[in-house]
Symmetry: D2
Subunit: 259 residues, 4 copies
């Protein structure tokens, strides 16, 4: 699927502040960048750095007053829909070094506290079938609406029975890790997402590779362009400002070009 | 300082389980391994993998019944005492990519919740002087004793006013990150630690490099041999067992050879 | 059912401390005290006071060194088994003033966070049927064993899927209050409890009165002698020591005399 | 001080709901009601009940659609400014039964977690001097502004260093109880409060009686008219709606008549 992506951020900074921008689509075998351009206004020179896990890029800048960032890209996503059924879970001791940290609990994904519940509720399943059952539970029991609370964790979401893409993803990640299946969070652009916005989805490690899953069911995996990955929302913020900032406007648009 | 290190773990596993062992001293410019040997009993073949951040090694094994691990090493630590006074903090936008994630809150280090307190209490200081003042507060206000609670975070420790090396380290890390100074946790062997045990200390990023600090003050930095680093205790466990295990015995010994 | 009750506490206090003892069975229409005696050793004079809600008694004392308390009672419990099925919930606006506070969340019973889940899972039921369904869920999903953590709340227990009588009770109380059904915690002696110990159960307000329910199912309601009631475990401690104390021994025995 | 008080609430209820209204000034020796009137529109008949601890009144109603409540009162407050200095703390074992529950932690006041900190920081003081020192710490270290987070507890506030009257009160209550000094929360009208609103203050039990303290320092104790008391904010809500409601308007006005 060929996608045309536009993101636009517009902020006001009362005092000079450093910014870490993560808007650029990662170049990987399953998503080929045809062209892209990041334009930042209101800052000094840009310093690109690698993102976590070597997947994707980030950009440092120092700005003050009105700061804008515009990103446009054309990308070919060649990723089939993820078929979880029947996928085997790998023995943890066969996991590559770079995957190991995704077995452990993280700030928003308290997988250690869910071990007993996951064993009781999903212990009869394994691998992709287990993940599919978790996704089904999440979709059946959660309402897609903001919880109205900052700092919501996977357990908060499981209890409150509501949340947005970030919360759905944290919950699936925590449940997967509680079953010793590595899981990480993905910041992304998504085709057909309503309303248009940045999206957060999940990758689980099954049968020797990362498998993309959208626990909200709002966006097909074939139309997702990944920006970056990390342990949870802590790592995939599209904009981190080291100081105060007021949001003026923020827009995302993803259009399909080849259909 | 030349150190002779011995660690011995003895566990009983009721059912077969995968184990991730992190006992080996990292080979780095400031700590040169003369020789070392890891011997594991009661498991199948060992699979070594890299540790997080490329610093150090870890070893996968699958065991059952009585499992033992013995590690012995001779290491030359050539690290001067850390002098914090006067060290400059780097602009965050100049930080290397590999350091950036150590700016952010993590599970046991809720730095975002401490920003206002750190600004009020340490805002008049900067860099190494700021870190030194934080260490002084911690040493003056905490008692070194177990909190008797699992899952203790930096804020729990700040409130309870007690903890062990892991808690002291989490608190210093959270305070440093709240001031936009990167900080990470270090699992280590430490000479002169009483009682002998594994140790946890902190590295803060100042003036272009990681600086080792022991917030407990129990071990001199010159006698610390690092095993691995990570965001917090989640990442530096010396033994992770994916299943049930009962501790039979655990011993650590660190002797100085050159004095 | 006529019960013979004995409780014995034996503590060592390194320094003089005030103690609040709540061992005495409450005299109420459904449990008639034939005789009882509280004997306290190692303290100064005893000061009896009323307990919360006017149900039961408590006793202040000041002790030091070895402190013992022995309570013996004979009590006729004339309470039929609680039949929840078909009991109506009262409109909250018809509740007596003394019942209102049992609608609200308390420290260990975060009922406000469970409102959505309780509405989704039990919204099709009402009154006693709703409570019965909650009890059934709890019994089917929890394992009776200590969580190994102090300060466990209802939500902690719902997530961990394990706990003891206190945890089971907190969870049922939180679920009931989330459905606007008043619920309170009861400290009690219980016949046929294995192993013998103090017990914690629940009272829910249905059809104009408090109904005793044991969510653990370990003790029949007909053999429960209530000591006191409160919002949660905070209020029904059988011994509160304002200072340090070491437990030497603690024993409870409940024997049926009439069968 | 003679005060004229007006409170006005205007809500919209999408579906019929029971309401518990707590707007009326309590009649006590230190605040004599000259006249008052509660007028409720949009509901069925009103059912007055006693408030917690026998201090004050509450009113049940069932409403739907647009619901308004208007309360007007003239009250003579004859309460001198609270002088904490030198007031003795009572032995806990001499406390009246009705005061005992105010020694214990409650949902928003985790006094048990503050015991060590309070012992270390205030252990050299006692009674009113200890409370005065706590108030001074709070005023010096907190900024009066919303924390932007619901469900904020005393410890959250101590860490965040910011809050409103409710948060200041929770923190003082938790600190006092951690020192075995009973403390409770007071919902009130306050003269000279800027901006005009409902107020929350604290009563601590010293030298045989409750002493009113405003930890924010925003309102003089002589101009405070109490509505009700409780363990924390859970108990003193001026309006509890058992269902959904949208706030349209809410106004409070307190005018001095005798100066």
């Amino acid at each position: 699927m060929r996608l045309s992506i536009t993101a636009f951020l517009d902020y006001s900074l009362p005092r000079p502040a450093d910014l870490l921008i993560a808007l650029e689509v990662a170049q990987t075998p399953d998503q080929e960048l045809i062209e892209d351009l990041l334009t930042v206004g209101g800052t000094g020179p840009l310093t690109p750095i690698a993102a976590d896990d070597g997947l994707g890029r980030r950009t440092w800048a120092r700005g003050a007053g009105r700061v804008t960032a515009r990103y446009t890209a054309t990308v070919d996503v060649e990723r089939p829909a993820t078929l979880l059924a029947g996928l085997a879970a790998d023995d943890v001791k066969s996991l590559p070094a770079s995957v190991v940290s995704y077995l452990f609990p993280s700030r928003y994904c308290e997988s250690d506290r869910l071990e007993e519940a996951v064993l009781r509720d999903y212990g009869h399943l394994s691998g992709g079938d287990k993940i599919a059952a978790m996704v089904a539970w999440i979709r059946a029991h959660l309402t897609y609406e903001p919880s109205g609370k900052l700092g919501t964790t996977a357990i908060d979401t499981m209890i409150a029975r509501r949340g947005v893409c970030r919360d759905y993803s944290h919950l699936l990640i925590a449940m997967a890790r509680a079953a010793d299946i590595p899981a990480r969070m993905v910041g992304a652009y998504a085709w057909a997402l309503e309303p248009e916005d940045f999206h957060a989805v999940v990758e689980v490690w099954l049968d020797g590779g990362w498998r993309l899953v959208d626990p909200t069911g709002l966006a097909p995996e074939e139309g997702i362009a990944r920006i970056g990955v990390g342990r949870d929302a802590t790592d995939i913020s599209f904009l981190t400002i080291f100081g105060r900032a007021d949001l003026i406007e923020q827009r995302v648009s993803v259009t399909r070009l080849d259909a």
